[in-house]
């Protein structure tokens, strides 16, 4: 519930920053579907955490090391909103100036996502596809009835 509220709030911030497309995604995916799936997971599992039988020292070390490396990687990035950052010198003017005659689509976000950065979007769709396949494999997808099905009339039909 809190994550849903957080996502809706983040969507409002994105609208305020004039990033309507991102806000749209955040509101529909973050506030809508994710919350729904989180509630579904809670309904499937239990609400309480199992008490671990060991101290997870190694995972903690891995997580801290990865986090430290990521933070180290951000140190030499240009400051937020810096007009002299490489992205504002090179690709952004290129896209904004050449997009009308190259693509001719009014929404520059769509043009960048679908055409200039088509490979990235293909990768994102592949990620979603993989997630769907993973859930199908793990949760059965309702294709096969569980052997000796506990509820006869539970889910009939060809599914």
């Amino acid at each position: 519930m809190l994550s849903g509220i957080y996502s809706l709030f983040a969507a409002a911030i994105f609208v305020e920053l004039d990033a309507v497309d991102v806000a749209f995604t955040e509101a529909s995916v973050g506030a809508g579907i994710s919350t729904m799936l989180m509630l579904g997971t809670l309904a499937l599992t239990t609400r309480l955490e199992k008490i671990p039988t060991y101290m997870p020292i190694l995972p903690l070390l891995v997580v801290v090391a990865t986090g430290a490396a990521l933070i180290y990687g951000t140190l030499d990035m240009p400051r937020f909103g810096d007009p002299n950052a490489p992205i504002h010198q090179h690709v952004v003017p290129r896209y904004i100036e050449d997009m009308p005659k190259e693509i001719g689509v009014p929404n520059v976000v769509t043009a960048v996502l679908a055409s200039y950065r088509g490979y990235d979007t293909l990768g994102e769709v592949t990620v979603i596809f993989t997630a769907g396949i993973g859930v199908l494999v793990l949760l059965g997808g309702g294709r096969r009835e569980r052997p000796g099905g506990r509820r006869a009339g539970g889910r009939g039909g060809p599914s």
Partner: protein
């Protein structure tokens, strides 16, 4: 949920608009905010609403799992296939300029087709995941 007449009526009133809005976001993504991802999620949200109100069994009749599973792959294949079509027509992979008479028209067509592919895959995956979660008994 058998006796909730108000919920049934309101959901039935709401559903056409949810799905229509999803299609609007899908095919208007080149002019306004939106695109395949958002449209797919909104479309799936319509199905989720239907599932919650009318039950999983009815929802599976509307969206049979075999068909949804095919759509999961079909959207991605449409996307990747558009790239291959560009290669076959003599361009680069995922460069849509060669798909139609003029480069601009080709780009427009390519963007529409791949956004549709994105929308189909996203909607099908979300419906699949929700059906899997909802169909699983504790």
């Amino acid at each position: 949920m058998r006796h909730h007449h108000v919920l049934h009526v309101i959901a039935k009133l709401l559903l056409p608009f949810v799905l229509l809005f999803a299609l609007y976001v899908q095919f208007h993504g080149d002019f306004g905010p939106g695109g395949g991802f958002q449209a797919g999620v909104i479309f799936a949200a319509g199905f989720i609403l239907y599932t919650i109100v009318f039950g999983l069994e009815n929802a599976r009749k509307v969206a049979p799992m075999p068909a949804v599973r095919v759509l999961v792959a079909a959207g991605l294949l449409l996307y990747a296939g558009t790239g291959v079509a560009g290669v076959l027509l003599g361009g680069h992979y995922l460069n849509y300029s060669v798909l139609a008479g003029t480069p601009v028209a080709g780009q427009h067509l390519g963007i529409m087709v791949i956004e549709f592919g994105v929308g189909v895959t996203v909607a099908a995956v979300m419906i699949t995941i929700f059906f899997c979660f909802a169909g699983r008994e504790k």
